[in-house]
Amino acid sequence: MNAPTKSEAKGLHSALRYNFIAMVGNENVRAATAADTIGGAQPKLVIEPGTASEIAEILRLSNEAGLAVIPRGGGTKLEWGNPPSRADLILSTARMTEIIEHAWADLTVSVEAGCTIQRLQETLAQHGQRLALDPLWPEKATVGGVLSTNDSGALRLRFGALRDLIIGATVALPDGTLASSGGKVVKNVAGYDLPKLVTGALGTLGVITRAVFRVHPLPRNTRSFSMSAANAEETQHLVLAVQNSKLAHTFLQSHFSDDAPPVSDILFEGTDAGLAAQEAQLRTLSAPAIVRDASTATWTAREELWTLSEPASTAIAKISILPAEMARAMKRMEHIANGHQVRWRALVYATGIGWLRLEGKPGSLRGALQALRGELEGQSCSVVALHRPEKMPAFDAWGTAGDALPLMKAVKQQLDPKNTLNPGRFVGGI
């Protein structure tokens, strides 16, 4: 990697560029290429700082110079959110990969933002522990990126989402402040819970440089089963019956599509004795539905749904509904898909969080998403578009943020008054 030449990084004040180079070294500053484009915006520079202080200082200098900064971890979910209104600098955490402390006997881990989830899990596993989270693409996704996008999977039913697992964070703000909150103990109510504020904020308030998580033991043994149902109503009935039972399942997810009857997968973790007893209870509870051992595809169902072989004709959205409204939402989806001539399938967890994949012409995809959002938002549910084909007509990723939007803007104004971080990417134009 070479230092940017004048022509490569034109538009960036040269004194500023050389400040960056002096701080992080020539080899960690490069001109951005077409591969770094984000939502159609072409940044000028990519910087890979090595420390939290460097991140804070780069932010401060960029903020003063009025540059727009796009924080980047593993780059797996950069398309989530709206396209940025401006993009000058990519601030990458690729070099900040240290696992600072795995206090295994205290069930906590402190880790730098650029560490991949997979490497973190491998380290935790050496002491029989895990971060009880199953985000997308763990081999590439980083701690900071997963936190900023609030990406959780099926395990959330049992262990909660990132908001329930993060216990401390250090964040660099655009004015160069490096602020820590929370701590490294699981139970702690001193001060505001800012780790929750930056979780899911899509990097619009600050750049997460370090996080502390509570961790969980790896399960002794696991068993998973799949159960077929004739239709969405039967699936709904089964899911609510399991949720209302004494079973201590770890996840429960249901697959819906336009070309196959629904299937639900359930995972149990525990001792052999406990697992045998739970299997027997499940069989009684779910009769007459057939219970069979789940295939290994169960574990990768979400990534499989995300396979983008035809990105130009595929849209993917995250939906959040009430658990007991699952069947109704799927029936509406079916109706809307027919009307707009799109193919669809969905993976919905018993928590009410689901993932929706639509295939069709870009205009039809937009129409279907708009119709679904229109119906669900009325019932305090949400549809967030995560992947949209380039040619799809403009469609806000988030939908309404409700009457708290002015307050959200006030929080943004307090922490990033010049709109330096990820401008225009979050709800309501934040």
């Binding site: 006997a105 069930l107 906590t108 139970k187 001060g191 939908g399």
Partner: protein, 485 residues
Amino acid sequence: MNPMEARILDELRTIVGDRGLISSPEELHTYECDGLTNFRVMPRAVVLPNSTEQVQAIVGICHRERMPFVARGSGTGLSGGALPVENGIVISLARMNRILEVDFPNARVVVEPGVINLDVTGRVSPQDYFYAPDPSSQSICSIGGNVAENSGGAHCLKYGFTTTHVLGLEVVLPDASLIHLGGKTLDTPGYDLAGVFVGSEGTLGVATRIILRIVKRPECIRTLLAAFPSTNEAGAAVSDIIAAGMLPAAIEMMDNLAIQAAEAAVHANYPNCGGLLLVELDGPVAEVEALMTDVNEICRSNGASEIRAAQSDAERALVWKGRKAAFAAMGRISPNYIVQDGVIPRTALPRVMSEITRLSQEAGVRVANVFHAGDGNLHPLVLYDRRISGQEEAAEALSSRILELCIEAGGSITGEHGVGEDKKKMMSKMFAEPDLATMQRVRCAFDPLQLSNPTKVFPTPRLCGEKPGEYVAHPAESEGIAERY
């Protein structure tokens, strides 16, 4: 009373009616402190609204008059969070105590802030659900207060804190606007401001409606008492339980002094020993029984002299009664005591315990210890006699020193009681100035005029818009609205 005050009182009375306004000095005494009685401030008035609209109207007057307010639930807090502020009013949510909605299929309950914690469980237990956060004061403390303090309880080791179970909030902001944070569904688009609000100790506004998650009761609950020679052996057993990959519903520890007090107060029939462990496992019967065998073995191998399983619900209730009464029980063995609340990484327990013992002997002040041992939350009870000259000061010094030990061990100055008035000076020992300044900036987004419980949590109040280190006049200040303090 000056005419302005009479005018405001009349206006408040119009909103809440005669019975909703308390302004006579003798009645106001009830509200001059919360569960932490060594701080007392007389409020100008106490108003008791019974609807969100009334709260909005009251806060509207406070905003217009630049008059600070403190929201109050049941007043059981132990950090002075509900302590009135000078020249301010108290908004008591005690009359807003309706359970508005119970939705079993979605496991959601919607409540007003004055609903008592245990009443939520009472309402849903016929269908075999419960509300998980269980602070020791759960039979009298309110959900609104729990939200302010992010209350925990013995079972948060497995089930999480109040913040885990609050999905949405209706909030009256300090400018009297009404907003909704979170909701009945998860991950509502936008910042997780419900997550910020819970545990903000009443400094960001007043919650008027709260959406809670309820949990299905486990198939079985097993509770075991194990008697150890000292807290060291009991602590080692806890570490082994965790290392074995178990996540009990609760692990509580008491030292000998705490056992004696609990025995004197409620006759819980605890074994007399140096370190008592209470371990509770819940879940499917087969699973819990398999794990209970392991817990038994771990306790035995760490030197437990006696292991006893609660044989019935009544026995289990008695075991918990002793533990939950432990704070109040101190009155049986000491005329005065300080309830401390600190957190350490669990592995630091032996070191911190021996240091507490040493400091206690050095100061000639007894300390009884009750812990949520699973998550390292210590509740040292510092015993003293106010009538003996110098004892109160010695007890307070020791109590503060214990918190410093917690910080030095990498822990926290509060695990569940909050910072409030009591610990705001300790905040700068736990957090650096930029950390606190960042929290203040978030506060300024919610409450730019700093009217909502303004003197709590932070060691040095700062006007919004003020930069640390340099003085810039705040617009409110230039306009003569606010003064620096």
